[in-house]
Symmetry: C2
Amino acid sequence: MRSGRSRIVELDEGAKLEALHKCRIFSGLRTADLRVMAALATSVHYVKGAFIFNDGDPAEFFYVAQQGLIKLHKGSSSGKNVTFKIATLGDTLNAAALSLKSHFLSAQAMTDATVLRIPRKGFWAFEAKHPGIAANILRLTAEGLNIEYNRIVDIIGEEVELRVVHSLFTLVNKFGPNLLLKREELANYAGTTTETAIRVLSKLRKKGIVSCSAGRGTIVISDLSKLQNYRS
Amino acid sequence: MRSGRSRIVELDEGAKLEALHKCRIFSGLRTADLRVMAALATSVHYVKGAFIFNDGDPAEFFYVAQQGLIKLHKGSSSGKNVTFKIATLGDTLNAAALSLKSHFLSAQAMTDATVLRIPRKGFWAFEAKHPGIAANILRLTAEGLNIEYNRIVDIIGEEVELRVVHSLFTLVNKFGPNLLLKREELANYAGTTTETAIRVLSKLRKKGIVSCSAGRGTIVISDLSKLQNYRS
DNA sequence: CGCCTGATTGATAAGTATCAAGGTCGGTGG
DNA sequence: CCACCGACCTTGATACTTATCAATCAGGCG
């Protein structure tokens, strides 16, 4: 929230188009259409740790991640923080919030990051000309809802160890076996504490499922199938 | 899942229209349009305890609750069961799942209940003629997503006692101060055990927030403002 | 070299689930 | 009408999971 942590940058159209092309909301659109959207988009760079928007802010823009890692999270009144999604190239930060008035999560750059920012009105005007977009947003939002139902069942029904394993599995499927995450970030993603996450990782290391060779701020999965079939 | 637990019934058009009229997905439509939808809808009656659909089933129909209470829930592999929503007159059972292939929750009649059932294809054909519906579904789904994010933050960040209180508050806002819920049902809704839910209720009774005068299978909230401002 | 951040491990305590044992209500059948 | 039965509610004792607190260690950077 300190100032001077974001700045508008000029991206060439190719880079913008790549991000839009990878964005599932626009799947089915032709490049000619995406160029129109690219013309509406401003690219903005954020330094590591900067907030792109905050939970509760009015949703003025539609955002697509272009470069870097962006954490979508929310804090509780008791001070705990839950990470719901880690966005990368082509992921939307707030597709669902656009239908409501305000953001309901905060978006924070985990690394230096660049996003495309499209004004709300321009986005909806574009959407009105391309009806498939609404269906795509709806499908993605429904998928998101399903993911969160499953997460809740997991949190309530399974023990922490399994939850951490599930979190790792989800992350590996998206990012590959070399995760650029601190222990604390994994813990927030799994909904537990740093120490507990570490204890689980230690156990997994002893079983040969993860290795910590790569040093601080990283987690390396060395045996994906064992991870997938994990039983405590 | 036993047979003979549901049967098609004839509802007069007025009853169908009432349910559709109260359904937020159709807000903005004129009665003349709703008649078209009513003509597509079959009313089906389910006895208490019967399943209307199961988690994982293909989503062939769109459902709107017409009468009775219907629980939308999901079980974990460890046998726990989480209730996500309790639907009544005008609530949709599966608006989000219609965008995907399968149901991701189970729907079960908590009381004898009647639903309107509209074939998937007919629903989408109707939707195509009334673009506002897509926006309504999207808004409702986005709201649902927000609710679940908040629930997760609650589960991870707050202690059970507060969670039960929040659950009661949500339920009271929908159903009024006389809740027709068994202790076990409240527990499933709050994501805890029956015994823990009972202990919290006992505490609330001592504080004069709930009274148990109405007997079994009911919870009566006697002081809503104390409930709202509850601190453990 | 010393500092700061992150990782790790151990000890302890708190919160909840689990297990166990009645208790109460309402309905049913004799 | 009464007794019984089953479903639900309630409370207590205990165990287990996980958070919390505390101490130490390891590596990168100024």
